[in-house]
């Protein structure tokens, strides 16, 4: 285990390049709920390298989703800045943010957020239709092992299958980063592992930098680095010398 002070850039695993995808500095986020102010992030510094898998760990309410949302351009920061490939996205216009999300980021949500009135294939097409250099939706679905269920509606699929469609949807545009907010939160462990395997495979085959939020410590084993968040601050960052394949995880 490494202390926060001892983060060593040289120490990243060989499969991870030196290229910085995100550089986060003094990031703060305050939600104003009427009278009360909620300090969701209190000054986060972070770097993310391409090809890396990061697991964000932390108790509920520690600010994980907030951080991920800001990274993904879904939400805006209150203070500090977030650089994506050298460009400060905290100063981006609405249009630039939309383009950023459209062309660079893939998102996976805890509750899948599929469009219930669209089939698996169409749910993926929704994204590929507006992307620049997407895969064929069918291919994205085969990567997550759902090549056979193209015509099914979300309500006809299990939770794990729905989440894998969500992953297919997220990767289909060939994004540079994949942001997953508790992708296994609503799933039992064996289904969760299938989903994590899909994520790991995408990372391995496409080199997509991936952040996975979880409050499940066991999942941390599949990461290059594990970032612990607590009360809006990074409490520690640990590094795994070797990534465990998801099928070896248990919880």
């Amino acid at each position: 285990m490494l202390n926060k002070k001892n983060i060593d850039k040289e120490a990243v695993q060989t499969s991870v390049s030196e290229e910085t995808v995100f550089k986060v500095k003094r990031l703060k986020k305050v939600y104003e709920m009427g009278e009360v102010k909620v300090h969701a992030l209190r000054g986060v510094d972070l770097e993310l390298y391409s090809g890396e898998i990061i697991v964000l760990l932390g108790p509920s309410g520690s600010g994980k989703s907030t951080l991920l949302n800001i990274l993904g351009g879904l939400d805006t920061a209150t203070e500090g800045y977030v650089e994506y490939r050298g460009k400060d996205i905290t100063k981006a216009t609405e249009k630039e943010l939309t383009d950023y999300r459209r062309y660079h980021v893939g998102f996976v949500f805890q509750f899948y957020n599929l469009i219930p009135s669209l089939t698996a294939l169409e749910n993926v097409s929704v994204v590929t239709e507006i992307a620049k250099n997407p895969m064929k939706p069918e291919d994205a679905l085969s990567i997550v092992g759902l090549g056979e269920r193209l015509g099914h509606f979300p309500s006809q699929l299990s939770g794990g299958e729905q989440q894998r469609i969500a992953i297919a949807r997220a990767i289909a545009k060939n994004p540079e980063v994949l942001l997953c907010d508790e992708p296994t939160g609503a799933l039992d462990s064996s289904t969760g592992i299938v989903v994590l395997e899909a994520l790991e495979r995408v990372n391995r085959e496409l080199g997509t930098a991936t952040i996975i939020i979880t409050h499940n410590v066991d999942i941390a084993g599949m990461a290059n680095r594990v970032i612990h968040l607590s009360n809006g601050l990074i409490s520690e960052i640990t590094k795994n010398p070797v990534r465990k394949p998801p099928r070896e995880l248990h919880w």
Partner: protein
């Protein structure tokens, strides 16, 4: 964005019930708009073409008698184009198998058989041979009513002589598109006819050889009508001219113009209501849709769809609903428009009806519906689309509830828990509740307007004939006659009572305003003909001076005490000053009334009368009719009872059509509003209701909570609907006011109850449909899904 279009299609399918209800409302709005406007345009176009092709005159005048040579003086007036002289006479007809009095207007056909102006359109048979004295062409409506065809004959009393006339053809004329006897309230095809006959024969009969008593002319473009009217009157005054007038005042054309005005008003009122309600319903439904799709919106935005993309997506949904309604509405509107056109063709006799759906009407309909649909929804769509995606992922805060006013003032303890839920729900969204109430109220109001026409007509007829004109028949003489003539009539078997009247054509002038009408002189102490004051109380004829129909007072700008200039258009045509001594109420026509002796004095004539009002024993009716036909002095007889019956008969079909349309439309609005609010509360509250079921509430109790709210809104809507309905009826009445008639604002209890009933029935129907869904609520599924 093909995938999103699939979503659109499926979303639409999923909300098909609600979408259907909205589509129906839009369809109603568009179809009424198209119906009224296309009917108006069709009739206008048909009229214009008919007028043009059959050379309808621009100026008309009747006179006593002028030599044919005068025609040249009229032709020489600058701006006058074609002039045609005619001989026109009113005659009695004697028709076998039809004992009731029938009058006809006999119009001359020039010697070459080709009228220059107001040319009849020969529908069947042929034009008369102008040199034969027993051939006539009859108006088609009259022929149809009596099932006459070419070769049939009847008798006419022409200047006192019985003459058998043979029908050689039927015709329509731009001059008599609506065939109303002067002074009548509606066309009477059985008892009034237009006959065309050779000028030679009529001229001989009426001593009009080389002379004429009627003139029609057309103007060249840019001619000054008023100048020309004045010049014509100047020339014809000494020949007993009754005052020239333009097309605007030609009676058949007047009726048509009034009809167009009415259609125009209807095209403004009814579609506006529907389209407003549709916009509200769309607003509610779209609001609900975007709020249930918050998370989908968030996901789409997270994947790079812009706010605009999302906005367009929902706007497409709205446009799709609107377009279906619009398309259907235009189709149904054309269908209704043709139906309404057919009904109008019963009254207004055109040779053909050219259906005219102008692109502009479709344009207006599209613009108005799409515009208001977007106006009603863009706000909520935009609000939903612009939420930052991270925020949208957060559930909406739970609805805030408060104690209701009823509870605050301490009545809470009388309320059961379910009732409390109902009240709190209504109070939570007061605007939405109010708009729902308003929507249902508008439905109620529309229904009332259909009842209104019947009530107003009933009331007018009742006042006019029960309170004001109590005679069984009124007999007019061919010319002013000595009062002694009355004895001849009183002596007829079966005549129980007779009262004389004098009717004088006049032009009334006050300041620069003038109006052509007649003054009726009636006897003091008469029992048959009453004047009604502004509160509809019978009043005696004025001892001195003149009383005017109140609306005539308004037109002339006179009030009690003012001095009116009366130009008499008969006899020696004196011009006199007469004080206005009062205004009276009268719904049909405009007139002045005087004491008969005062009128005789004004005319400087003896005790002349124009006609007689009679009360007769119905047992002797036929005999009396027979005698009246035979009396040369009698120009015509009007039987009140027949007039009223005919009025209702001619109106019946149109009224039925309007009632039918209004009922359907009311049902649609009420159903649409109630169904939509029900479906939406069902979707908003299925969890709550399912939970209550799990807690042991019965289906009936759940239904009460759920439908109770709708019931309450519906009941609240009815009184509001009554108020709005009265308002709309008042507006219609004001909008339709003209010198032809004033529509009183009366609504019978029946109209109120029918409107309420239609609303309640359609609301209950939609309640039942939704209740069916409620009964089949899958408790487990509802509770399992996350809201």
């Amino acid at each position: 964005m093909k995938a999103l279009d699939h979503k659109l299609r499926r979303d639409l399918w999923k909300m098909k019930g609600q979408a259907f209800a909205i589509i129906l409302v839009i369809l109603s709005g568009v179809s009424t708009l198209v119906m009224f406007l296309s009917t108006m345009n069709s009739l206008t176009l048909t009229r214009d073409i008919f007028y043009r092709d059959y050379r309808f005159g621009d100026v008309f005048i009747s006179l006593k008698r002028a030599p044919e040579s005068i025609k040249h003086r009229i032709s020489e007036i600058p701006g006058v184009d074609t002039v045609e002289t005619r001989v026109v006479a009113d005659v009695k007809l004697d028709i076998k198998g039809f004992p009731e009095p029938v009058t006809a207007r006999l119009v001359s056909v020039p010697d070459d058989g080709k009228p220059l102006l107001n040319r009849p359109y020969i529908r069947k048979g042929r034009m008369v041979d102008p040199w034969k004295d027993d051939e006539v062409v009859v108006s088609e409506a009259f022929a149809d009513a009596h099932r006459f065809s070419s070769g049939d004959s009847f008798t006419a009393i022409i200047n006192g002589r019985f003459k058998k006339l043979v029908i050689v053809g039927t015709a329509l004329s731009p001059e008599y598109v609506i065939q109303v006897r002067p002074g009548a309230i509606s066309p009477d095809f059985k008892r009034y006819a237009i006959l065309w006959m050779g000028r030679n024969a009529i001229g001989t009969a009426y001593d009009m050889k080389g002379a004429f008593n009627d003139l029609v002319l057309t103007l060249s473009p840019h001619a000054n009508l008023n100048d020309i009217l004045a010049k014509i009157d100047n020339i014809l005054d000494e020949y007993g001219g009754l005052g020239s007038y333009g097309r605007k005042d030609q009676i058949s054309n007047r009726f048509l113009s009034e009809e167009f005005r009415q259609l125009q008003r209807f095209a403004e009122i009814f579609p506006a209501i529907f389209i407003g309600v549709a916009a509200f319903l769309l607003n509610v439904v779209i609001n609900r849709t975007v709020s249930t799709q918050r998370e989908q919106i968030a996901a789409l935005k997270a994947f790079g769809y812009s706010t605009l993309d999302i906005g367009i997506h929902y706007v497409k949904l709205i446009i799709m609903i609107v377009l279906i309604g619009l398309g259907g509405g235009i189709g149904v509107g054309i269908w209704f428009g043709k139906g309404l056109g057919e009904i109008y063709m019963e009254f207004y006799r055109f040779p053909y009806l050219i259906y005219d759906l102008r692109p502009s009407v479709v344009g207006i309909a599209s613009l108005v519906t799409i515009g208001s649909a977007l106006l009603g929804t863009v706000h909520s769509v935009w609000n939903a689309a612009k939420v930052p995606p991270a925020k949208a992922m957060w559930p909406e805060p739970p609805a805030r509830f408060k104690e209701t006013i009823v509870e605050k003032i301490g009545l809470g303890r009388f309320l059961s828990q379910p009732t409390r839920i109902i009240l709190r729900n209504i109070e939570r969204r007061p605007v939405k509740a109010f708009l729902s109430v308003l929507g249902i109220a508008l439905a109620c109001a529309i229904m009332m307007t259909s009842g209104f026409f019947k009530d107003a007509v009933d009331f007018m007829v009742d006042i006019q004939f029960r309170l004001s004109q109590k005679e069984d028949m009124s007999v007019t003489f061919t010319e002013p006659t000595s009062r002694k003539a009355v004895y001849e009539l009183k002596g007829l078997r079966g005549v129980e009572h007779a009262e004389v009247f004098r009717s004088v054509p006049v032009r009334l002038k006050y300041g620069h305003r003038s109006y052509r009408t007649s003054i009726n002189g009636i006897e003091q102490g008469n029992r048959l003909h009453f004047l009604l004051d502004m509160r509809l109380k019978p009043v005696a004829p004025p001892q001195s001076g003149i009383v005017l129909t109140d609306y005539l007072g308004t037109i002339l700008g006179v009030k009690e005490g003012d001095m009116l200039t009366v130009e008499i258009l008969e006899g020696s045509r004196p011009v006199r000053q007469v004080p206005v001594t009062g205004l009276i109420k009268q719904y049909i026509g405009l007139m002045g009334y005087m004491d008969i002796n005062a009128l005789n004095r004004l005319m400087r004539e003896g005790n002349a009368v124009s006609g007689v009002y009679l009360i007769a024993d119905s047992l002797y009716q036929r005999e009396i009719y027979r005698k009246l036909v035979e009396m040369p002095r009698v120009a015509g007889t009007i039987v009140r009872k027949d007039e009223i019956r005919n009025f209702y008969e001619t109106q019946a079909e149109a009224l039925l059509f309007f009632t039918f349309v209004a009922t359907v439309l009311t049902g649609i609005i009420a159903f649409g509003v109630v169904y939509n609010s029900a479906r939406i509360s069902l979707s908003e509250r299925s969890r709550e209701l399912a939970s209550l079921r799990v807690l042991g509430y019965t289906r009936a109790e759940i239904s009460y909570i759920f439908l109770g709210e709708l019931g309450l809104l519906t009941l609240a809507a009815i009184p509001l609907g009554f108020i709005i309905g009265c308002g709309i009826c008042r507006y219609i009445a004001i909008a339709l006011t003209s010198d032809l008639f004033r529509v009183p604002v009366v609504l019978e209890p029946n109209t109120y109850s029918l409107a309420a009933a239609v609303v309640i029935v359609s609301a209950s129907l939609s309640g039942l449909i939704v209740r069916h869904r409620l009964d089949h609520l899958d408790l487990v599924a509802v509770l399992k899904t996350k809201e």
